[in-house]
């Protein structure tokens, strides 16, 4: 049986991330996002946020730690050297602000082969310290076979 036929019912330890204000600013600068709500606490509060608000795509910063053990799962046998990120989807709910603690869990939702390539689809769910969902992600990784 090829490793790609492995049953997909697998999940991994939760990953906990504490959101710091300088990390929010650093990420916002890296993507060129200059809106004051990501840099100035007063601007964020004036806009109704608890604290500096993270840009939506900051979710990759706090969620990726939950995906790493999934990608490295020996039962899935992903050939990391030949893996590319094929697709990504995020559904956002509660905004994430500096001072939040976000917990993310990841699971395998689909493993299949198409066109001589292996497709590994993972899902992630992230919630904040109040139990509110911040984002759900679907991560598609493609491995070229040889």
């Amino acid at each position: 049986m090829a490793p790609y036929d492995a049953p997909p019912e697998r999940s991994y330890p939760a990953f906990v991330y504490e959101v710091g204000s300088e990390k929010v600013r650093e990420y916002a600068r890296a993507i060129g996002e200059e809106a004051p709500v990501h840099h100035e606490r007063e601007a964020a509060r004036a806009a109704g946020f608890r604290d500096l608000v993270a840009p939506p795509m900051f979710c990759v910063v706090y969620a990726i730690g939950a995906l790493a053990p999934a990608v490295a799962d020996p039962e899935l046998g992903i050939d990391y050297a030949h893996m590319v990120h094929g697709g990504q989807e995020f559904d956002w709910e509660e905004p994430v602000c500096a001072g939040d603690t976000v917990t993310t869990t990841a699971s395998v939702v689909d493993v299949y082969e198409k066109g001589g390539m292996g497709f590994f689809v993972f899902a992630s769910v992230s919630t904040n310290q109040d139990g509110a969902q911040t984002v759900r992600g679907v991560w598609t990784n493609i491995v070229r076979r040889h």
Partner: protein
């Protein structure tokens, strides 16, 4: 924001600096050597160190948020496919259009693409926005 179906969005144009991939690696925590080590990248058949796909997606998220008026709460969903290879020091253009707006004018769906030199690096972008009631 008053978006109309079929309307083109304002383009977002960004030229990532030579060391942007290093900066994004530090900001995101993704230090895969294909993004920061030109020699390693060439050894696996790439033209040099390449942009992170999720950086391109973040630019797309910026363009979608801007279309909604700039409030980060407006962006409720974004799905993309990564194709091709993005490189530093070459302009990225994120463009798109409004696919649909609901009858109340409170939700919109956008189609987006990020290109370099006319070649898509992030494509199939589909964003859902929540808009303030006009």
């Amino acid at each position: 924001m008053d978006l109309r179906a079929g309307e083109a969005l304002s383009e977002l144009r960004v030229t990532p600096a030579r060391h942007l991939p290093h900066r994004y690696a530090g900001a995101s925590g993704d230090f895969n050597p294909i993004h920061i080590d030109p020699e390693f990248a060439r050894s696996v058949g790439l033209p040099g160190n390449i942009l992170h796909g999720l950086y391109g997606m973040a630019l797309m998220a910026r363009a979608a948020t801007a279309a909604a008026g700039g409030d980060p709460r407006s962006l409720r969903r974004l799905g993309v496919q990564f194709r091709g290879v993005g490189v530093p020091e070459q302009e990225i253009t994120v463009s798109g259009s409004v696919r649909e707006v609901d009858a109340e004018g409170t939700r919109a769906v956008l189609d987006l693409v990020a290109e370099q030199a006319g070649t898509p690096i992030v494509r199939g972008g589909e964003a859902e926005l929540v808009l303030e009631a006009p």
